[in-house]
């Protein structure tokens, strides 16, 4: 198996929860989400625009986040996304599932000493 492909699949499957986690911290616009994701993961997670914007639009349609055009302090207008109540609930569920999944993965994949 190609490891790059494995990582891509993992990232693809978790893009939504990563974005929701960031928006839980504070409302952000698209470019900010990309930057924060890269910084918060020490450069490990690099989501392309072609993946992130469809995810943002899909989650908006599903009611997990909402986007509003906002004037920033710099005077620029950006569409800022924030987490909705439904999104917060979804994040909570994803976190629980992830904890269980990660724990089980560790149990199975950790090398015996």
């Amino acid at each position: 198996m190609v490891l790059g492909s494995y990582l891509t699949q993992l990232l693809k499957g978790n893009t939504d929860v990563l974005i929701l986690s960031l928006l839980e911290r504070e409302p952000m616009y698209g470019h900010q989400v990309m930057q924060e994701l890269e910084q918060a993961s020490a450069g490990f997670f690099q989501v392309s625009e072609g993946t992130m914007y469809p995810a943002l639009y899909r989650m908006t349609r599903e009611g997990f986040i909402r986007g509003r055009w906002t004037r920033l302090q710099t005077g620029q207008e950006r569409k800022v996304y924030s987490l909705t109540k439904k999104g917060a609930q979804r994040l909570h569920e994803c976190r629980s599932t992830w904890s269980g999944f990660a724990a089980a993965m560790n149990l199975v994949t950790t090398e015996s000493r």
């Binding site: 698209g30 470019h31 930057q35 625009e49 072609g50 914007y53 995810a55 639009y57 899909r58 620029q76």
Partner: protein
């Protein structure tokens, strides 16, 4: 805005077809993103030209991005919805003119369906692809019946002691066909489910009608005598696929997922009831309910696969 960025957004907009206000909103947001990204890369020492290219590279091909954004918004443009619906209109016409009486034209029609399906696959499976792929999947089903007919005719002869090599080869080929045909259908459904189980349901939707036609043909005497019997139900099948074409148009255009599912299941049940009343009026309500349950289970089976995948 540079000509490179303007050209990209022009191409993106040409493929988006989300309606004026949504498109303007998307363009405004993505333009702002490019502006931010170029500024960010500029601060890292990347030249403006290269930064612009890097920003656009991140979006991918305009056609692909437009497709992903449309999918995220659950909107299928009219052109794609009409092309998708025309798959069943095409099948309706094939049935209506009883193309099985004209083998050369039938082969041409089958080749056209396969060609459009492959083209859709090459384009990255747009929304119109699934009805055409569904129409293409009726071919393995028809081929399966031919394989069944070969086994049905040749197996008793083999068991009676015949050692005709041609018959043996036919039996072997027919027996081998079933796992291959099943694999093709299951693989197509699994690939569709990975994107959206509703796409897989649309893919499966023409199969019940084709199966009914095949069963009818078998009851009327199989491949040799069934063609005439099939002609008797041609008008009904024409009507069924014509209605399916219209229902597919509504399903593809519906902006809300629940409406898509309701329309898919609802139209299938209406068509089943109508066909049963015409073909088997004395069948009884219990039989109809059983068939309806089977049909709904078949159409919604991709949802179950998606849940456990």
């Amino acid at each position: 805005m540079s000509s490179e960025v303007a050209g990209y957004f022009e191409r993106l907009r040409a493929h988006l077809q989300l309606g004026e206000s949504v498109e303007s909103d998307v363009m405004r947001e993505l333009s702002a993103h490019v502006e931010d990204r170029v500024a960010e890369l500029g601060r890292r020492g990347v030249s403006e030209d290269r930064a612009r290219r890097m920003a656009l590279d991140g979006f991918g091909r305009p056609r692909t991005l437009a497709h992903l954004l449309r999918q995220a918004q659950m909107v299928t443009p009219w052109s794609e919805a009409l092309l998708g619906a025309s798959a069943f209109l095409f099948v309706a016409l094939i049935v209506g003119v009883q193309l099985w009486h004209m083998p050369a034209l039938a082969v041409g029609a089958a080749a056209a369906v396969v060609a459009l399906t492959l083209y859709g696959l090459w384009l990255g499976r747009p929304a119109w692809f699934y009805p055409w792929a569904g129409a293409a999947l009726t071919m393995p089903l028809a081929a399966g019946y031919i394989a069944f007919a070969v086994l049905h005719r040749e197996l008793p002869r083999l068991l009676a002691g015949s050692t005709d090599n041609l018959a043996l080869a036919g039996i072997a080929g027919a027996a081998l066909y079933f796992p291959v045909g099943l694999f093709v259908v299951v693989a197509a459904v699994m690939v569709a489910v990975r994107r959206d189980w509703l796409d897989a349901s649309i893919l499966l939707s023409p199969l019940p009608g084709a199966l009914v036609a095949i069963i009818g043909m078998h009851r009327a005497g199989g491949l040799t005598g069934g063609g005439e019997a099939l002609s008797g139900t041609a008008l009904l099948l024409f009507g069924v696929y014509l209605c399916m074409s219209m229902a597919t148009l509504v399903v593809l255009r519906a902006p809300v997922r629940s409406l898509k599912v309701t329309m898919l299941v609802g139209s299938a049940l209406v068509l089943l009831s109508g066909s049963t009343l015409l073909l088997d009026p004395g069948g009884g309500l219990v039989t109809l309910a059983g068939r309806a349950a089977l049909l709904v289970a078949f159409l919604l089976s991709p949802a179950l696969v998606a849940r456990h995948a």
